[in-house]
Symmetry: C2
């Protein structure tokens, strides 16, 4: 078995003790790639956990400045090897090298790492709260080793060894156990190589990142439930995510999930009177971008039936039919997309464009629109909210405003919800009626804007009510907020001053750390303030 | 069945449709109180949920000022009826009227309600984060109807219809479904009466609080898992809490638990050299205060074996034996305390003081000390961490510093951990070795101070790692931080300005709301800032 790719545990690349293996495939040409990746047995996973637990103890004595230096160096090293990253990711996912991988996703990834570095350095993320009269001081601190399970659709920006969860976990002071997404293990291995090299260059504990490629379902559950694990970040399918959640919940280990989301887009009547052509462009562009393989892809379009709506639907049908069908991330995505159509049809939807394998490339499905009316939707709201992940959308036409509200009331939790309305206020009455309903169902509410394109901003919420995620109070995107997922609240009561962490001592630890001191946010030292 | 006490649902006191009932008892005289409280059947619980869900929709249109007015008015009304409250609580719990109920717990309770009012009014709790360049704005908002299960040991301050969880849930904009603790249903009913009256006086939705007294275990699980429930706050026994957690987790509903905690107190050798007599006073005082019935009661005392330690233990043994045994909250507490001794003895501990029913009053147990050495503890760390809730403590004597670290490494998650050390630094080396271990096991770390007395401060953390609570990132005490448990993150992306909630509009909504605007915390308007 010497031909299996090595795993990274305790700072060393080494042969896996596993005997089973898997291979990834190039979805563009349908060819299996030559590398063989091991399925790690439990004993190996346990070693990874123990190495991470040791790194966690070491990290408590590592300065935030060094953590920041590591993240910055890691970003630099990724950029230095960017061509190789792009080639690997393209061969494993069929995502285009340009602009997607090289000019969009790779810069986003290194930006996230550098924002993580800046957050670690500034230290405001840990929200020091100081009650000087009672010498009671609290802040957020690292929670412990973090398991990251990355999704198939962002080989860089959500990669378990370099993406948003990784950057957040490390910036908060936690080591990571990266479980590669099995659709791009080679890309993930490259990241882990550069992470280890960056750790060595910056004097970080070498066990700061472990990489395994695959586990059995049972071992995945044992991993997230292990008493030495601090928390888990998971992005992926609902079924696998909920199995991990059950195990983690039972063990009392926090787990943050980003599961499926159909991201309802509501177009109010005034929009089609005002700007139907622009609306078509915007909707079709967002829908088919990246072959629809985004967590925030608009999967449900809701309108009120009338002549303009019919014309609008006709037009997007034409556009969907004419647009080339992109290559999907893999044969699994193709299969589940086609199965999704079947499920929606069974639940009452009609295919009005596409619906079949495209045949153009090996992993490709026709751009697809399905439709139901409001009565049909309300007859089976659960079945009609099955996610069909890819270049497809379900159109729901409501009889009237009242039925539109009823449909929104029946939506599950989603990451996003968009409302397009007339720019001069013609739709305001209906907006005011639907907003309270939609607001409760989504993490991010948009106006006149498509949900794709998740900005990395402190004000972003890439989260939402269950089952879009596991908890509506946390975001997976947006630094520093995403760090909270991987932090515990540490209170110091009457603790002697020189024993306090720097963030809670009287002097501002950096000069620019924001702290809430006796109810006021400031960057001051405490002696100055008093 | 017309003699059953009424439940409060949808703003009306009404006869329960339940046929089963229970009664509470006066633990001081062992007499069953005459009132009969219904066990609510599922249909009634469902009506409570639906009423709360409707109130939740109404509350979205209620100003924070009105919510604050309600909480203030509720506090006033409690004070106006304070003698009745104190009488009821005393008869149901045997807690002393003075100072405990009238001069400590009642003021603490009204203070919490007023702090909740102030937080609602100031609005800083919702942490508005605004990215002006991208018109992306986020803040925390009400999560939905909150179920509150209060504990037996704080009939006022943690009461499900008036305590910390109630104040936090309402201040964040959520209605409450209060499930009374069955040891003090009469006190809880009084609170609900005043809450309803305060709601009517301040023009709040009358369904802002529902009161039920008891459910079957299965219906309790259905309640916390119901899709209309936003979150649950639970304080109580580990077994009942974990059953609710399992149901809520499975449904994807956030639940915050405060379960058992043994609150390790570590006394380092220098302390007994320096101030043994004061240490005895401090320890015995905290241990026996309130007959030991606090979540933060010191249940495990850890020292290093030597002659001074033996003398110290001898002295606290004397003090425990001489001190009068207080009355416990009820016969259930007495029974479980005695069972706790048996379990600890079976696990290897020896009773060195007390250990039996006191016989003085009907619900009373001798002040009890148990002891094990470090080897014994390490042979059965799980069994020796069973909580014996009440006037009892387990002393663990470690052979040396190394074994002390080993014992701390084997501790479960706790709310608090205390370290006493020599004031001139003689214990600093050992402090530095044990601190990293203890820090990871507790929510609040104390120096030279006992854990009892949980200050209501913004810097407090009354939380900790599992199984002390369900998530180490949240606190149940300390306003505004405790409000986060009952809030969801709401992001507004490109939403038109007049459609934004007040907290996210350009003008500061109150003039003194703290907001993070483009990375700076300020109380400014946005036009001023730009």
């Amino acid at each position: 078995m010497s031909s299996l790719e090595p795993v990274l545990i305790a700072g060393k690349w080494r042969q896996s003790t596993g005997e089973e293996f898997f291979q990834s495939a190039n979805p563009q040409i349908g060819e299996t790639l030559p590398e063989k990746y091991p399925v790690s047995p439990w004993s190996e996973i346990e070693e990874a956990i123990e190495a991470a637990a040791e790194a966690y103890q070491q990290l408590r004595r590592v300065s935030p400045e060094r953590i920041a230096a590591f993240l910055d160096k890691f970003a630099d090293r990724i950029e230095a090897r960017r061509e190789e990253f792009v080639q690997w990711a393209n061969s494993e996912t069929a995502l285009p090298c340009e602009p997607r991988l090289n000019s969009v996703e790779l810069p986003r990834t290194t930006n996230q790492l550098r924002l993580g570095a800046a957050a670690a350095r500034e230290r405001s993320w840990c929200q020091p709260v100081i009650d000087t009269a009672n010498n009671l001081r609290s802040c957020y601190k690292a929670i412990g080793p973090v398991c990251v399970f990355g999704p198939n659709n962002f080989p860089f920006a959500f990669n378990s060894a370099a993406g948003g969860d990784f950057a957040s976990a490390i910036a908060a002071g936690n080591p990571v156990i990266a479980k590669a997404n099995t659709s791009h293990p080679g890309t993930t291995r490259l990241f882990a190589e550069e992470a280890l090299a960056a750790a060595e260059e910056t004097g970080m504990p070498s066990s700061i990142v472990q990489l395994i490629y695959r586990t059995s379902h049972a071992d995945g559950a044992r991993l997230v439930a292990h008493p030495l694990i601090g928390a888990t970040g998971y992005t992926g399918s609902r079924r696998a995510g909920l199995a991990l959640k059950e195990a983690a919940d039972k063990a009392g280990n926090p787990i943050y999930l980003e599961l499926s989301s159909i991201n309802p887009v509501v177009i109010l009547p005034g929009v089609l009177e005002e700007r139907a052509a622009a609306m078509v462009d915007e909707f079709v562009g967002s829908s088919l971008m990246g072959t629809g393989q985004f967590c925030t892809n608009p999967g449900l379009l809701l309108l009120i039936e009338n002549a303009q709506t019919s014309a609008f639907i006709e037009e997007i049908k034409n556009r969907f039919s004419k647009a080339p069908a992109g290559t999907l991330l893999g044969s699994g995505v193709e299969k589940s997309l086609l199965a999704g159509f079947d499920a929606l049809v069974k639940a009452g939807a009609e295919v009005i464009a596409g619906g079949n394998s495209a045949g153009e490339a090996l992993c490709s499905v026709q751009n697809t629109l399905l439709q139901v009316d409001g009565d049909q939707f309300l007859a089976n709201p659960t079945g009609l909210q099955e996610e069909a992940f890819g270049n497809a959308c379900l159109i729901v036409t409501a009889r009237d405003q009242g039925q539109m509200v009823g449909i929104l009331e029946n939506l599950e939790g989603n990451l996003t919800g968009c409302v397009y309305s007339h720019s001069d206020g013609d739709d305001d009455a209906i907006y005011n009626e639907i907003e309270p309903v939609l607001r409760q169902k989504v993490g991010r509410l948009l106006n006149d804007k498509m949900p794709t394109g998740v900005l990395v901003s402190p004000a972003m919420n890439h989260g939402g009510p269950y089952p879009a995620t596991g908890h509506p109070g946390f975001t997976a995107v947006g630094i520093p907020a995403s760090l909270f997922r991987f932090a515990a609240l540490h209170c110091y009561d009457n603790v002697r001053h020189d024993r306090l962490p720097g963030e809670l001592q009287n002097a501002n630890p950096t000069g620019n750390t924001w702290r809430s001191i006796d109810g006021e946010w400031s960057q001051k030292d405490i002696s100055q303030q008093q």
